[in-house]
Amino acid sequence: MTVTVLLFASYAESLGTHSMRLDMPSGATVADVIGHVRGLPGADRLPSAPLVAVNERYARGTRVLEPGDEVAIIPPVAGG
């Protein structure tokens, strides 16, 4: 199944892109996606358990993904 990964701020800069499409086995979790992304070049700034949102809601690493889900990897927020 295909999921979309969104990257922002320092994470987007490190990985050189704001989004990517990943082909994951069905039943894959948020943690599986993070594990995959951490293996990419430039991902050294990415923590092992970053904040993640699935379809615009914060989600845990154990969350099982559905085809087409939008997985956003969220750097430490600094609004205000």
Binding site: L6, F8, A9, S10, E13, A53, E56, R57, Y58, A72, I74, P75, P76, V77, A78, G79, G80
Partner: protein
């Protein structure tokens, strides 16, 4: 109630007018502005970016929570993105209520929750020409009571 991410200067007077009702005895306006110094480093400006759709949804949740907790629907908030100069407003919150205590409390709730939950990031542009993404989790101890 309204929450938005905008990419233009925020109109404080407009937000105040939006929450004005004759039943309200107090209006609290919070304005967060770009400061010239962070952790002792001179700052020239700040570039804000956001996961816009989620940021608006999360801010709308926060406004709804404040509305339920403090019993007023007269709450609006706008957060700006893009490159801001010193003194410009990055966020403005207007809360109106029949009484001032709850207006202050609701305003405080909204800004503190924004800082905790809303996917917005800032990159400071320093006077020496360097730029850095701000990570509030990395220097909480060193920075002391700044937050």
């Amino acid at each position: 109630m309204r929450a938005a991410i905008v990419d233009h200067p925020i109109d404080a007077t407009g937000l105040m007018a939006e929450v004005a009702r004759h039943g309200n005895g107090a209006t609290v306006l919070f304005v967060g502005t770009v400061r010239d110094l962070n952790d002792g480093r001179p700052v020239n400006g700040i570039e804000y970016s956001a996961y816009r759709s989620m940021a608006e949804r999360e801010m709308a949740d926060i406004v709804r929570e404040a509305s339920e907790q403090f019993a007023t629907t007269d709450i609006v908030v706008e957060h700006r993105t893009g490159l801001l100069e010193l003194g410009e407003a990055s966020v403005i919150i207007a809360v109106a209520h029949s009484h001032r205590g709850a207006a202050y409390d609701a305003s405080r709730y909204v800004i503190e929750q924004i800082k905790k939950r809303v996917p917005i990031w800032k990159r400071e542009h320093y006077a020496d020409g360097t730029r850095e993404w701000v990570d509030p989790t990395s220097h909480r101890v060193a920075a002391g009571a700044g937050r």
